[in-house]
Symmetry: C2
Subunit: 192 residues, 2 copies
Amino acid sequence: MSVALHETRRRQLTDRQVEAIDLLIHATEAEVDETGYDGLSVRGVARRAGVAPATAYTYFSSKDHLLAELLWRRVRGVGETVVDPSGSTADRLGAAVADLGEITSGSPAVVAACTQALLSSHGDVKALREHIGVDIRRRLAAAAGSDRDRRIVDVLVTTYFGALLSAGMGHMAYVDVPEFVVAAARLMSSDA
Amino acid sequence: MSVALHETRRRQLTDRQVEAIDLLIHATEAEVDETGYDGLSVRGVARRAGVAPATAYTYFSSKDHLLAELLWRRVRGVGETVVDPSGSTADRLGAAVADLGEITSGSPAVVAACTQALLSSHGDVKALREHIGVDIRRRLAAAAGSDRDRRIVDVLVTTYFGALLSAGMGHMAYVDVPEFVVAAARLMSSDA
DNA sequence: CCTCAAACTGGACAAGTGTCTGGACTATAG
DNA sequence: CTATAGTCCAGACACTTGTCCAGTTTGAGG
């Protein structure tokens, strides 16, 4: 029996289980793209993935958990930004934020559902949210480089999540989020 | 029959109905302070307010609607910030943001529940969210004054909501939100 | 091939949410 | 005072969500 360590559960999972989880995540993406957040249900995802509802519930405790895991995979999938030391702080932060745009590319319905799910108070979602927050902050901090700009990174992370929220509410397009955050970075970097 | 125009419904309401609605909102505040967002229910609020559940549902379609209305009333209750033309942009924005701190004063549990409710996709909540967003933006824009700083106001509004989100997730205390946004304003205003 | 423990299944289940309805109540108009 | 339109109430209702369980299937090890 070959096994693999996986983040969704704190146990070793067989290849088959890993595959079932992947199936569920992909089914989630397809399903939410058609039905939207409100129309999504764990049962619907399980049906699409060809898995029994009870099985889906052993891996994911709610639809929010499914969506949060989907988003977390997207965040992890973003490549590390190459820092160019010759550029200005704003340039470097801009490059990092532009790379983060990969997360919010694709179907807006899917992105909106994921970000909405991330606000859940369920324990499983909280943990994934923490991972995502830490990861994004790490990327921006690496791009900023010096400790002198930590304050700017703090504000920028907050602005980034605020912009995602704003996009989720339809006040901004997801494609415009990176640009907006870059503009904020320039406003804060005097060495532009 | 005396009547009053009220925002919760698009109809004229009797005094008695206005009072019932006030009772429900106050009961919501007390209830959520004890039980938190997850423990809150329309039925529980109705019981505390001494109103039948069905009646409560005629005025508010969900617990999110109750909480959003509560927050909207708080926002409306904040006095208009007096703009001091002699101060810097950052100073004026700072004064406005400090006044907005009134919204998030009081029980953090209540504030957290309200902000969480505001993320609901229900139509009733959406409308209130819109009102709140417009009102806060108007206050900051008035404080900024010149059109030159419109960009800064855009970022600041986004940062403000991002900070509220951050506080809701426990990464920041609600009392520190104004200070954080003021710091952001200073970072963006070169005429500090 | 056989054993057995683990995982999957599908259906039942309790809890919670929002809606609906018939009857009681209230206040305005005649 | 009576008629009547509108509101409120209490309970029933359909629906969804997450949990649980007994039976079946799966697959690694002997």
